[in-house]
Amino acid sequence: MKAINSIRVVFPSRSANEGFARITAAAFASQLDPTVEEISEIKTAVSEAVTNCIVHGYADELGNITLQCRLYEGGKLVIVIKDKGRGIENIEQAMEPLFTTGDTAERSGMGFTIMESFMDKVKVTSKPGIGTTVTFTKYIKSRG
């Protein structure tokens, strides 16, 4: 299926860009006339994924994060967040509620749980040393 509309934004893994990324995704989604609740869910899921890239993917370095948003027929929105950081050894474990890597910073371990709850589909692919890609699918119902 070919996308009706798409954007691709690349930005450095600075935490100041977390806000930029979620606002960008929300602005792209706004063409589907989503509800305030749907916008809030998109912003939160994107914020979680981008924070993971910064905190885990590029833990001790600065790297590029790619945000792609694609719009398909039927109100299907696909958001891809990709880093070329250190990758995840055990994806299943990383996605468990309350799992954290146990670093000294305060983390809730609820990131993936929130993403899964707010998006219709969450797909994570990762290779240690190569990077991580998180793909969200969300259907925005037409209110017309």
Binding site: G19, V36, S40, K43, T44, S47, A105, E106, R107, S108
Partner: protein, 103 residues
């Protein structure tokens, strides 16, 4: 993120305003902890009424402050949870750990 503090006897009230994410989390936690250590309240009130966006960093902030307050035999109360913030706190079953004051 804008934060204002009000100290009433044994209570420290923290009014949060704006967006809470990982970017502002550390600075926010540090400024709250500074006030807690200075005033040593028995109840820390976190007012989320002015929060327009929050991700899981907000959970980590609450759980971290709970840990500090418990170490001083104090507790934490959350106020004015609504919309997105309430959904995230409910998901984490936060009321098992802190007081949630219903409006």
């Amino acid at each position: 993120m804008n934060v204002t503090f009000q100290n009433n006897f044994n209570e420290l009230e923290v009014r949060l305003c704006g967006e809470i994410d990982h970017h502002c989390a550390r600075g926010l936690s540090e400024s709250i902890d500074f006030k807690i250590k200075r005033h040593r309240p028995t109840l820390l009130i976190l007012d989320f009424g002015g929060v327009s966006f929050m991700d899981s960093s907000g959970l980590a902030i609450v759980m971290g402050r709970r840990k500090l307050m418990r170490s001083m035999d104090g507790s934490v109360e959350l106020r004015h949870l609504c919309g997105g913030t309430r959904k995230i706190f409910d998901m984490a079953e936060i009321s098992r750990y802190v007081i949630v004051k219903e409006d």
